[in-house]
């Protein structure tokens, strides 16, 4: 999915790109990307304001006289008023606030950190794959303090959001709320900071490319 990659001016930031925020506002991204973006917006007022700008652009496009206008069914208004008279749908129960998982993520986990169903993937690292549509995959990663993720490259786009602790790679230091957007050009070995075990949400739209033999062999089984 080329949408999300701004490869002409790849800048290292700890925030989301315009292309991602516009895709989120337009509703054009895979569910897993929407999830990591909604989670970052819950922690970052600057990107939330930029996302609101892209939603405003959507409103302007919708309102444009030149936009698509379709004739309604003859009884459209009456039918709508009849549905209104049936009353509102029952509201969904709001997720409880959790100190580590913002609400959109807690809704996918089905609770707070204690509800995550971790699976060991070796070297102390654990992961939990979240249920999203198949175009892209969202997984939570648990990396013990000081431990490294296997060195890997990317065949598509990977967005990593830190929820607890911090990690470091060649491009920078990422703490709670920070995102790293990695693309095909990036090869990295994220290492968790020594202070605290690191929990991240990582989203990919294509398999990672591992540079060491062992993780490459394990890849089909770990689904990463």
């Amino acid at each position: 999915m080329r949408w999300v990659v701004d490869d002409m001016t790849r800048e290292i930031t700890h925030h989301l790109t315009d292309a991602l925020l516009m895709g989120y506002a337009a509703g054009a991204l895979p569910e897993a990307f929407d999830l990591v973006i909604a989670t970052h917006l819950s922690l970052c007022d600057a990107c939330r304001a930029r996302a609101a700008g892209f939603e405003m652009l959507g409103g302007a496009v919708l309102d444009e006289a030149a936009g698509p206008v379709a004739p309604l069914a003859d009884d459209s208004l009456e039918a709508t008023l009849a549905r209104i008279a049936e009353g509102p749908a029952a509201p969904a129960a709001a997720a409880r606030r959790d100190p580590v998982l913002p609400v959109p993520l807690a809704e996918y986990v089905g609770g707070g950190v204690e509800a995550i169903r971790w699976r060991r993937v070796g070297m102390g690292v654990r992961q939990a794959i979240l249920p999203t549509s198949r175009e892209a995959r969202a997984r939570l990663l648990y990396i013990p303090a000081g431990a490294a993720m296997p060195d890997h490259g990317h065949t598509g786009t990977e967005i990593t959001l830190v929820l607890q602790g911090a990690f470091q790679d060649d491009d920078g230091y990422y703490a709670r709320g920070d995102v790293e957007v990695a693309t095909e050009e990036v090869d990295h070995t994220p290492v968790a900071d020594f202070g605290e075990d690191c929990i991240c949400l990582a989203v990919t739209d294509a398999p990672l490319r591992f540079n060491a033999l062992l993780p490459r062999l394990a890849q089909p089984f770990l689904r990463i």
Binding site: D18, A25, P30, E31, L57, G58, L72, I84
Partner: protein, 187 residues
């Protein structure tokens, strides 16, 4: 502010009043006015995003039902009515046409304030008007691409296939359009 922007801002403020009338008085006339303006636009949006006629009509009605029931939650200091309706229609499209869940950010805690500030509401409506005007001023090709990004549910590569333009041109055109819009918004 240009005359066109002033007119748009007034129209925006008038939509805010209609939504308030729906929220506070279940006013059917105000709802009908919103329906006549936004209903055909929402339906057009859904048609262009891949719904067939019956589904677009059905989803449009659901969007307008949601507008009625959630009118009391609309905050005119954070969005114009058009933007608010766009987000409801977008989420309906993701739910019904793409069959995906739509994760939304955590609600902000606004603290003890009673309600949105009048100055904030006015500023927001003026920003929306300026953006609408800037969108109209964009060169045709750039505007079409922005519309496709929002309406057509197209990726950059699909846009390229449809228009026969190479990918780099598309990306720089969208970026150019965004830069122009940002410049027009004075940031």
């Amino acid at each position: 502010m240009t005359a066109g922007e002033r007119g748009d801002a007034e129209q925006g403020a008038s939509w805010v009043r209609q939504v308030r009338l729906v929220a506070d008085a279940q006013d059917r006339a105000a709802f009908a006015e919103l329906f006549r303006h936004f209903g055909p636009r929402v339906k057009g949006y859904l048609l262009r995003s891949g719904a067939d006629g019956a589904m677009a009509e059905e989803c449009m009605q659901e969007v307008m039902v949601t507008l009625w029931h959630k009118a009391h939650l609309f905050d005119p200091s954070r969005a114009s009515v058009a933007t608010w309706i766009f987000t409801i229609a977008r989420n309906k499209r993701i739910d019904v046409i793409r069959r995906q869940r739509r994760p939304e950010p955590e609600e902000l805690d606004w603290g003890p304030e009673a309600g949105p500030d009048q100055a904030d509401i006015l500023a927001l409506q003026q920003d929306s008007a300026r953006l609408g005007d800037a969108l109209r001023q964009l060169p045709e090709k750039q505007r079409t691409l922005i519309e496709k990004a929002y309406f057509g549910d197209l990726s950059h590569s699909e846009i390229a296939a449809e228009t026969g333009l190479p990918l780099g041109t598309i990306k720089s055109r969208i970026r150019l359009a965004l830069e122009k819009l940002r410049h027009a918004m004075g940031s």
